[in-house]
Amino acid sequence: MLPPSVSAPCIELSGNREVLIEGSRGVLEYSPETVRINTADMILSVFGRGLDLRCISESALIIDGFVTRLEFTV
């Protein structure tokens, strides 16, 4: 578990079909192949096919689809 001072996002993967991201600050890009999420200290890019946003709330979102790659840009 990360200490409270580290404001890193919490990412949970269910296989490569679902990604739960907590600590989101907004969606930067959304297409069926790419979803780029702004978190506090980095940008998280999810690559895949047929990506959908199953649910979006203020600080969390769930991505459905066939995920092929995750990328972190610090």
Partner: protein, 410 residues
């Protein structure tokens, strides 16, 4: 599943957002606490869902984000109610249905009793009804533990009881008490005496001294086997006399019937009444009656039980048949036949412990009454035990054998 129900109850909108920066719109909605779901990317925008209440508030913000919103579909209960606003009967019917289910769930629909052996089920239902558990009882007022405890205290035949109320179904499990077996007294000193007058056929003596012999006549109360036994040394001791004494006895019975009497017989006139049984409350919906003041009623209850669940709703058909007085005049043969039937009933119930050897019938007709006198000759065990010294002043010490300590030393 639960989430789907909540969304349906609140109502939601499926919309299409199109514009230059749809991602900006997503972030604005998230910042304003608006929840989006089922978001799919399409050409030039995306499709998603949000609550109806949120959609009203989000429209000005969408304009600011350069996004145009278009409603594709409205779903949920509010939309349904709005669609059927011109037909209030359907809405009222739906509300009445929900209300009926809610109200009916507060009453007991059926009471099932299991585990009875000697106590009849109607008797047990009567006891439970006194305690407040019956079809139609108000469920919140029932205390299952109290009912079970009170029945166990009040009814000595019930050893254990549990009342389980599941939904509107009450299941009562009962275990009856095992009665202790009768203990045969084989120690109290007693004589064997004759219960009836008769001629002794056989005596099987188990204990005591036989006083009478086979073939001798005895009268009621006569001593047959003595409980005072004399030992070889001349001393007397008391025993619990026991014997089986078969004797030929006679029983007399008289049966009578008037030679002319009236009875009520069913006629062909009948009618049918119908009721709806709603949790014990009967609501008639077909009224009718027969002309005769005397009538016979038979009821048939039809209670639907879909999937084995008894509903508190049933249909009762009551068939009422008119009765008419009919005069019956007996002749010798029919009177004898009727009286013989009575004598057979007497024999079956009152002489069940005897073996009837012969019957002597005599029929007389006097003052408008037929009388049948029957003398039964029977073989039966006439022995009964009579305790010795029931009077508290009787001194029995001389008959009791001395103990080891009390015996004089040689």
């Amino acid at each position: 599943m639960l989430l789907s129900i909540l969304r349906f109850m609140r109502g939601y909108v499926r919309f299409e957002a199109s514009g230059k920066y749809p991602e900006r719109f997503l972030n604005i909605t998230a910042r304003h606490g608006v929840r989006l779901w089922a978001v799919e990317r399409v050409n030039g925008g995306f499709i998603g869902c949000m609550y109806r209440s949120d959609y009203r508030n989000i429209r000005p913000l969408a304009r600011g984000a350069g996004v145009v919103l278009r409603v594709m579909d409205k779903r949920g209960l509010p939309s349904f109610a709005f669609k059927w606003r011109g037909r209030p009967g359907i809405i009222l019917g739906g509300c009445a249905f929900v209300l009926t289910v809610f109200v009916m769930s507060m009453f007991i629909w059926s009471v099932d009793v299991v585990g009875l052996e000697k106590v009849s089920i109607s008797e047990m239902r009567g006891i439970l009804r006194e305690k407040g558990l019956y079809v139609g009882a108000f469920k919140p007022a029932l205390d299952a533990r109290r009912i079970a405890d009170e029945v166990m205290i009040d009814d000595p035949d019930i050893g254990w009881m549990a009342v389980n109320i599941e939904g509107s179904y009450a299941s009562v499990e009962v275990k009856e008490k095992a009665q202790p077996p009768e203990v045969n007294d084989i120690e109290t000193p007693c004589n064997v005496k004759a219960a009836r007058d008769g001629v002794i056929i056989s005596i099987e003596g188990y204990e005591g001294e036989i006083i009478t012999a086979e073939g001798s006549g005895v009268i009621k109360g006569q001593l047959l086997v003595s409980g005072v036994v004399e030992d070889a040394d001349g001393s007397a001791r008391l025993v619990h006399a026991a014997a089986k004494v078969n004797a030929r006895t006679t029983h007399e019975a008289v049966f009578s019937v008037p030679d002319e009497y009236t009875v009520l017989v069913e006629t062909e006139e009948y009618t049918e009444r119908r009721y709806i049984d709603l949790a014990g409350l009967r609501i008639p919906y077909v009224f009718s009656s027969v002309g005769s003041p005397d009538s016979l009623s038979r009821e048939i209850t039809e209670a639907p039980a879909p999937l084995g669940v008894t509903l508190p709703l049933g249909k009762v058909r009551e068939r009422v048949t008119a009765l008419d007085e009919s005069s019956i005049t007996l002749d010798d043969n029919s009177a004898k036949e009727l009286l013989l039937c009575q004598s057979e009933l007497y024999e079956a119930f009152c002489l069940s412990a005897c073996t009837v050897e012969s019957r002597d019938h005599s029929l007389t007709h006097k003052d408008g009454v037929y009388t049948l006198s029957v003398v039964y000759t029977c073989i039966e065990d006439i022995a009964y035990t009579d305790p010795i010294g029931t009077d508290e002043n009787t001194d029995l010490t001389k008959y009791v054998l001395p103990t080891e300590d009390e015996r004089p030393s040689p």
